[in-house]
């Protein structure tokens, strides 16, 4: 019933000379005592808070008693006459000891007997140091100076790290299919793991190719990297956002992500949401290199491949994953305000996701896209822009080739007869009409089959109708 058992009340009663307390009385009292204690603690807490402490002291309780007008002090056995004893404060927490009397467990406050003689003979205790203060600059115009009085940046960083670990831990708690969220467990990385992490991150961005490939190999094969995974993901994220114009760093990070994804022993799923954004940035970023003539096209290809890998690997478990990515890419493609580099990344990304996707989403939009974005850029005077447009065109043609190829791989019965027929001018015109002039002609140069052309036309006109 109450946190205080009846027996306690009875014992206290006996110690005050009230014997044979009835059971009902005792339990009623116990209930009331619990309430009073709660009330007292609430009051005492106010005193504690106003003293800006986090530990409740005897003084606080005494002050609360006084406020509540209760004329008794904390330890009644010292003073059985119910006289207030406000001057009393204990220097240290009173200790209770357990003893067993007649098979019953009893707790009592330790109350040593003190010999006056020895106390008087003792030398006086040392005078405690006086309260003083020291002054220092906590900040100078918003910058915290690095002086011994201020905490070191590493302390602050440790503080930050513990904060950052929390969301990760929370995610863990949820994905383990348990409804009740586990208490956060501070996990400590062993020294070896920390060293490993440092080595790997160094090696990955080092110019030494051999070292690099060894690092990736290790990331791909090592079975004991679970604990480091969040840190690696975090590292990739950080590096990509910091060095979004350095192609080599981005390349290295993509390789790192690939290695992590390929590691059979790792459970990457909880970190996908952190891993996908950097890869997407590599894919559709406006500029991912210093000069526009660098070969960022292959990096984008790489990222597209990785994206597809993720979709294939986790698409089954997360049904919304692929649609979300496709939607993002398609939006990037169809926004004429985006640069051509972004368009290129989007086309390549969609292409890699398979002809199914491009047939439904890209093909119907090719004509619109070619006319609004490509046409003007292809004849642009700027060589960069021209090159970019050229690349986009090539990518689009590739898309069409893939669509055509798929159509020829899965021949429909009704198409069997027309398969061998040569490509007529009529078909060509139809194609150019469906996908626009630039792309259409380029596609025809790849010497497609009639069936392929027809499937492309079908796909391209499907949506427009």
């Amino acid at each position: 019933m109450s946190v205080f058992p009846k027996e306690t009340i009875k014992n206290i009663g006996e110690s005050l000379g009230v014997t044979h307390l009835k059971d009902e009385v005792a339990s009623a009292l116990a209930q009331d005592v619990e309430y009073r204690v709660h009330e007292l603690i609430q009051e005492a807490t106010k005193f504690m808070r106003h003293s800006k402490r986090s530990k409740l002291t005897v003084d606080d309780v005494n002050a609360a008693l006084r406020v509540k007008n209760v004329e008794a002090s904390l330890l009644p056995h010292i003073n059985t006459q119910f006289q207030p004893l406000y001057g009393y404060a204990c220097g240290e927490t009173p200790t209770f000891r357990k003893t067993t009397v007649n098979g019953q467990e009893l707790y009592f406050a330790e109350d040593e007997e003190v010999d006056f003689e020895t106390i008087l003979a003792k030398p006086l205790p040392k005078i405690p140091l006086d309260a003083t203060f020291t002054a220092h600059w906590l900040a100078i115009e918003g910058v915290q100076p690095a002086i011994p009085q201020n905490p070191t940046p590493s302390d602050a960083k440790a503080d930050l790290l513990t904060k950052r670990a929390k969301p990760n831990a929370a995610i863990n708690g949820i994905t383990t299919d348990q409804v009740d969220v586990k208490p956060l467990v501070k996990h400590v990385l062993s020294k070896e793991l920390q060293m490993y992490f440092e080595r790997i991150t160094e090696a990955v961005s080092s110019p030494d190719e051999r070292l690099k490939s060894q690092a990736f190999e290790s990331l791909r094969m090592d079975p004991g990297l679970h604990q480091l995974l969040p840190y690696f993901v975090q590292h990739i994220h950080k590096k990509v956002t910091q060095n979004h114009k350095q192609l080599d760093v981005l390349e290295a990070m993509l390789s790192m992500a690939q290695a992590l994804l390929n590691n059979k022993h790792l459970f990457v799923e909880p970190y996908l949401h952190q891993l996908i954004p950097p890869i997407l940035s590599c894919l559709v970023g406006r500029t991912i290199c210093e000069s526009p003539f660098e070969d960022h096209w292959s990096t984008r290809h790489r990222a597209a491949g990785l994206m597809t890998l993720i979709c294939n690997q986790f698409g089954k478990a997360y049904h919304t994953l692929q649609p979300r990515i496709t939607k993002t890419l398609l939006r990037a493609l169809l926004d004429p305000a985006r640069p051509l580099t972004t368009h290129y990344g989007a086309i390549v990304g969609l292409d890699q996701l398979g002809p199914e996707v491009t047939r439904v989403l890209v093909a119907p939009n090719i004509k619109f896209y070619a006319e609004t974005c490509l046409k003007s850029a292809l004849v642009s005077s700027s060589p960069i822009r021209k090159l970019e447009a050229q690349k986009c065109k090539e990518a689009l043609v590739n898309v069409l080739i893939h669509i055509a190829k798929q159509a020829s791989l899965v021949p429909k019965e009704s198409d069997m007869q027309v398969d061998t027929a040569p490509l007529s001018e009529e078909d060509k015109a139809e194609l150019v009409d469906a996908v626009g002039e630039d792309v259409g002609k380029a596609f025809l140069e790849s010497d497609p089959t009639r069936q392929g052309v027809q499937s492309v036309v079908e796909a391209a006109t499907h949506m427009n109708e």
């Binding site: 209930q31 808070r49 003293s51 800006k52 006086d130 309260a131 203060f133 906590l138 201020n150 930050l160």
Partner: protein, 669 residues
Amino acid sequence: MSQEFTPPADTKSVPSHVLKYKDAEQGDPDAYNVSYKSLREWIENSLDWYKPELRSVLFPIFVHAHLDLVSKNLPEQAKYFMETYKDDHVELHTPDLNRLATITDPQHVRENELAQMYRNNKYNLRMSSVPFELFLNYLQDNKFMLLLRIVNQYLNIQVVHGKLLKSAGGLEMDDVIGITGHDSQQIEAFNHQSIQLGQPQMDPSFKEEIEQALKERDSARKDENGENITNGDPVPSLLETFKRVKQESMTDGPAFGDIPVPPYRGTDIQAEIDSLKDLGKRITLGSTSLPSICCYTFHNTHDSLNCVTATKDASLLAGGFSESYIKIWSLKGEKLRSLRNTLNPAHVNDYADLNRQKERHGSDYKRLVGHSGPVYGLSFSHDNKYLISCSEDKTARLWSTQTFTNLVCYKGHNYPIWDVDFGPFGFYFATASHDRTARLWSCDQIHPLRIFAGHLSDVDTVKFHPNSKYLVTGSSDRTARLWDVQRGTCVRVFTGHTGAIKTVAVSPNGRLMASAGEDKSIMLWDLGSGRQLKKMTGHTGFIYSLDFSADSNVLVSGGSDGTVRVWDVNKDTHTISSSLVAGAERTDSKRIRVDESARNDERNGKSKDKKDSSKDKSKEDEKRRKGVAESSDHLGVFPTKNTPIYDVQFTNRNLCLVSGAFSSPSIDS
């Protein structure tokens, strides 16, 4: 308190014909449990569209069902009921839940203040008509007479016709006030009372004398520097500054004599001139120029230091201790010398004479002994000649910083006094006490002049408005209030905090107020409209102290987490919640219209802000990506080494002084 508000016009109550008891239900101790459970299930299964509004009704029903069970002497059931359903309300009502859970006896219901508050006040809610009808029909169809009785007796549901409320009742922070017995609309109406937030008009003769003195100074300076000043003075003369400052601040201020103050003295003129000079040396702060912060760390206090304060000119520092004494240190590196007791005013003609009357050898600090309980609050007068202190011994004491002796002891409160604040022009001071009142005193009277009653729990902190016409108090009842000093009545109520308010600060321009406390968030309020402008989050512990910079552009806070944080006041984004998830969508930002005159005051600061807003945005996005739970207006955080910050304040020149007691990291934590 409730008669201050007029009841709303269109309150619908439950038709009385349905209030017939079902005998069986009344006799059954499980009836509450059963009916509450099905109501809860029904609400959870209802349309998402109505859910938030319906949910808001659960908490009051929960509370009263629990109290009913306790009153009917069914502690077992009450306990079971509490344990089973309290999780629903933990988010918004934890303090109340903890207190309600301790109530286990009918006697306690009658005694407990919180229970009585719920019993005696109607809990106000707003609902739109469709959910309200649904709710009533559900209760009636299922014959949950006990719940209907609760709804009829203790709830005041105001039906809003037309559109659905965006987020109703208990889920909207504004409506937590349901607890205190007032609803938000009433508060809004209440907060419409007109107030004057400008500086008071000056005594005309005083103003004249200052202008005269300034004119003399200016002309003297001109003579000194010769011709270079005539061809374009880059530094405006003090007289011009004075006129401009007074012109700006005195619009919308109380008339001269509205707040009676003692007649001015010669030293007041000098003080006024000095403060004008400080104005020239003041560093303008804003989102791009952060303040310099000087930290005073106390050692060897063994948790006995309760409060610290420094003078506005950073010359003295005072600390109040649990051992009932106050210590004063000099911050200028010189020893403190008090005047001798044997001083005879007749022999003092000039400053040198006075100096001769001081102790020969000063001491590093002075100890002021007089209180008989822990000292909880300290405040220096504006001229730094007096210190007022308050204590657990129910008294406030006035001390002289010339003689370092106790001058007056003010008795009047019946319970410990938590906080004290000297008025901006001296002479008056205010105290906040455990007895749920704040009181106004003048130094020359030993009895209080005004008693400000209305808070429902301890008044934890009190601050004067810079024009001395108003007081701001913060309380454990989780509201802050603005009081008219002259009339002794409450003119604004600020609700929204989810924990006790431990500190408040009023901006020097008189337009804004910030409050903070145990819920670890700071709220910024517009005093004119009584509306919340924004909520600033980032602290991880209780907040002990707040202060605005002298130009009201920057707010600094310090607390038990041992950090000092700097906030941008002018960034008016209304952040609803800062999400921890990386790459989360930008939270809705809603600009709230600030009082037009306030905007004029801050025009300078704002135009600067605009320039940097794009830069800020990128910084802010970066922060979001990192997943820091700080709101966007957080300008900086400065951690200390295990030193909870007890006090933060700005000097006249915008230097920030913070102080706290070093606490050695304990073994058990």
